[in-house]
Symmetry: C2
Subunit: 244 residues, 2 copies
Amino acid sequence: MQFTSEQHLENDVLEREFTLGEIPGILWTPESATEPVPLILLGHPPLGLTKMYPRLAARARRATAEGFAAATIELPGSGDRPRWAAAEQARADLRRTLQAGDPVSDEIIDALILPLVDKAVPEWQTTLDALLALPEIGGPVGYSGGVISIGIRLAVVEPRIVAAGLFAGSFVPRTMFEEARRITIPVHVLLQWDDEGNDRQAALDLFDAFGSKEKTLLANMGGHTGVPQSAGEDAAGFFARHLK
Amino acid sequence: MQFTSEQHLENDVLEREFTLGEIPGILWTPESATEPVPLILLGHPPLGLTKMYPRLAARARRATAEGFAAATIELPGSGDRPRWAAAEQARADLRRTLQAGDPVSDEIIDALILPLVDKAVPEWQTTLDALLALPEIGGPVGYSGGVISIGIRLAVVEPRIVAAGLFAGSFVPRTMFEEARRITIPVHVLLQWDDEGNDRQAALDLFDAFGSKEKTLLANMGGHTGVPQSAGEDAAGFFARHLK
């Protein structure tokens, strides 16, 4: 892990950009912490870190204010990272389907999401190795937001993640329901009731499928980007309960 | 409104029992408040104030700690208040149906709930008149919990109530869905995902029906009485946002 920039932000936040092999990322830490702090991994949609930066930085500021470190990485195929042909094809198929007003088939969803999950999850795990090797970061570790299927896979395969805050706002391949049943860590699921690009009933079925004894669904009015501020407070409460 | 007892509880809480005509009730206020405070009406199931007291007092303590007054009244037909034949009949029909493992018919639900709503709502409104006449209580007013159909009707007909925290844990007559569509105040709905006596899909449909632009559904694992402590914190946040 190579730090490539360092910025001291207001409210005691140190923001550092890093690269880990070919993966760029950002780490935020509460600057005056005297002990190793818990960590929240910030997931995000595959729109590129530059575009997502304002929202990620806002979530990171909330995390550091609570005494957590927060980190994120560029997803494979996003930002300046190399595309791969199958993903481009899947995105084009999705665009065409949505423009035609047709239902999005399982084939398109699988092609869009499964390779992304397969590539992104090991990268998150490598990032976690590097982050936990830093003296200022201790644990426990939570995962928050982004492509929900990545969060599901991570919650299943990565034992260092002890709590997951998931956003039911992206297509979910059928096979992910089986993985969801294998999750045992506490899960907090956010659902936008009128999310344009999200099947509400599928989201409710997915919530039902999670194997966790402790799981919470928080549904708010509005579309995909209309998550109210109070939802951030609720999620903060969830991580405070499980990471402190 | 006649106060019949007065108790100084720890943490700055004054608890007073009262009667309003034939209706007994309890009022909790933050003792050292120097200005009129907002008010939360505490709904509860028709099991009698004596039985419900511990849970009501805990909710009232949370409310007073946030700077609110809290009040509750005995429901018609509960506690020492006179029964009426139709309600007794409806309860007996429900018991028999549940024991037989049969589905609960709309007729039984209507007979059980609608007369209770028709009687209880004007009593809550009379109580509100009396409470708001007290110098220590100002407003705004929220309604919280209890029989959800009572909360729905109150939210529709009582303009002094500006926010409602509802518990989707009791049978809902079909006609209440129409009333739900007429609600415009912010609504926070609590759902226990595995509530034994509650139809989950009906609860989700009811949430969908609420006409409010601002509504939140919070679902937690567990049965009717398994509401986690965090749900109380979320509800407190909801009332803090809307009553302060």
